[in-house]
Subunit: 252 residues, 2 copies
Amino acid sequence: MKTVAVANRKGGTGKTTTAVNLAACLAARGRSVLLIDADPQANATVSVGLPLAADGTGTAALLAADADLAAAAAPTPFPRLAAVPAGPALAAAEFGFEERGDGWQRVLRDKLTQARHDHVIIDTPPAMGFLAYNCLAAADGLLVPLQCDYFSLEGLREFAANLARIRQAHNPGLRLAGLLRTMHDPRTLLARQVSEGLRRQFGSLLFETSIPRNVRLAEAPSHGKPVIHFDRGCSGARAYEALADEFERKCR
Amino acid sequence: MKTVAVANRKGGTGKTTTAVNLAACLAARGRSVLLIDADPQANATVSVGLPLAADGTGTAALLAADADLAAAAAPTPFPRLAAVPAGPALAAAEFGFEERGDGWQRVLRDKLTQARHDHVIIDTPPAMGFLAYNCLAAADGLLVPLQCDYFSLEGLREFAANLARIRQAHNPGLRLAGLLRTMHDPRTLLARQVSEGLRRQFGSLLFETSIPRNVRLAEAPSHGKPVIHFDRGCSGARAYEALADEFERKCR
Ligand SMILES: Nc1ncnc2c1ncn2[C@@H]1O[C@H](COP(=O)(O)OP(=O)(O)OP(=O)(O)O)[C@@H](O)[C@H]1O
Ligand SMILES: Nc1ncnc2c1ncn2[C@@H]1O[C@H](COP(=O)(O)OP(=O)(O)OP(=O)(O)O)[C@@H](O)[C@H]1O
Ligand SMILES: [Mg+2]
Ligand SMILES: [Mg+2]
């Protein structure tokens, strides 16, 4: 499962925080990792200390077939962690590339075959628009971060159908890497009920690791650092290290 | 400011929770309110106790010019609160309606002129795709719920430019109704710093009211009820009542 798209149409479920910190923890374990920021918000880009991609560079250039992967990727301040940054030019892609239908997904899929890294992790935007959809069509695995709340449960009902549709239409090899509980506060009854429901429905596809609510995870991006390079002993850092370990064991 | 779009491209900032509860509180004060669910996730629809819109009904039908406003709107269990529900058919709109460019926004704007309600409140999806963009192009006012975190601050930098662009291209009359701090926990330093920064930058455009983190707000949708009809004494309910009062005073 070399290329993993971190995705959930629901907003604010910790996609970016997960993509960035899983990538950083894998790199810290000695793996070479490429983080692709496919979200015009560019939150992942700033979280690894990079400036926004100038026009003609970064993910927009990669998708427009103007650049190959090696040209679009930039080193980050962190060893073995490279990134393809997002920038303002990527916003146009959300309204629909000129190149619609199969052409689009094939571009990304072909570029990804050039990757020489151990892991490729893609941060995707919320909502099911062109960008998120095409990342799912191009990836090997899908990691779904979610909060334990009612709307997440509702969203999962459609989720299986959506995954089946993408597999059938574009990407038969797409596998679910796992569901990850984020911003998890098991002290509330709602969170515990939803968590138990997820375990019953998804079994081992629900990661054992869950990410606790920890303000250090929200502060780290303002310093341009993944959390392990900002406060490595905090509960958020330890949780993402545990996730990286579980991910490597389970998602080959 | 009759039609207000509740919008923020950032995910999970409390757009739906705000659209639903502001609408419900205004209706409880005796106003007639129409809530339009323009998000394929249909979270607002379930939050007011309605089933998902069947194909050929609801917001998708409204946008496709297949239905006028009276036909698309349905009563909710709550007095004076009507809603145009979202359903699976709305997902296609996120990938771009057949009718692109000006035709699209004009459809929604024209339908909205048929509204006989005191207030029309539109819940929009995250990400800046066709649906969110066109709701902004059709509305009179824009209410932006946001969390006091680093990505929100980053997002606001582009925000003024985006607003100007929409005004110039489609909707010169669009005004900012206000910024609303949601899930606000003033005990964390990050939240206080961002909150003070917002006040300095936006002055009275930052609502005095802020919505505290309150699990009752996350539980209410699972009962198909706005929070004032679920637990009217809780901190979340009282905060949205205060917001409704401030909104009516300031956003005429
Ligand atoms: N475990 C956590 N504890 C505390 N804060 C967190 C945690 N995870 C994420 N956050 C913060 O919550 C906010 C939302 O998280 P994030 O941006 O990663 O979600 P997202 O799913 O990528 O959002 P979007 O849908 O907009 O892309 C951010 O400010 C982030 O820093
Ligand atoms: N003040 C609050 N206290 C506790 N939970 C809240 C609060 N406001 C919203 N929530 C919960 O947080 C989650 C995200 O809120 P909501 O769905 O309203 O955000 P949104 O901006 O509409 O998300 P999206 O970007 O996916 O449309 C929901 O489960 C909601 O019930
Ligand atoms: Mg994100
Ligand atoms: Mg919403």
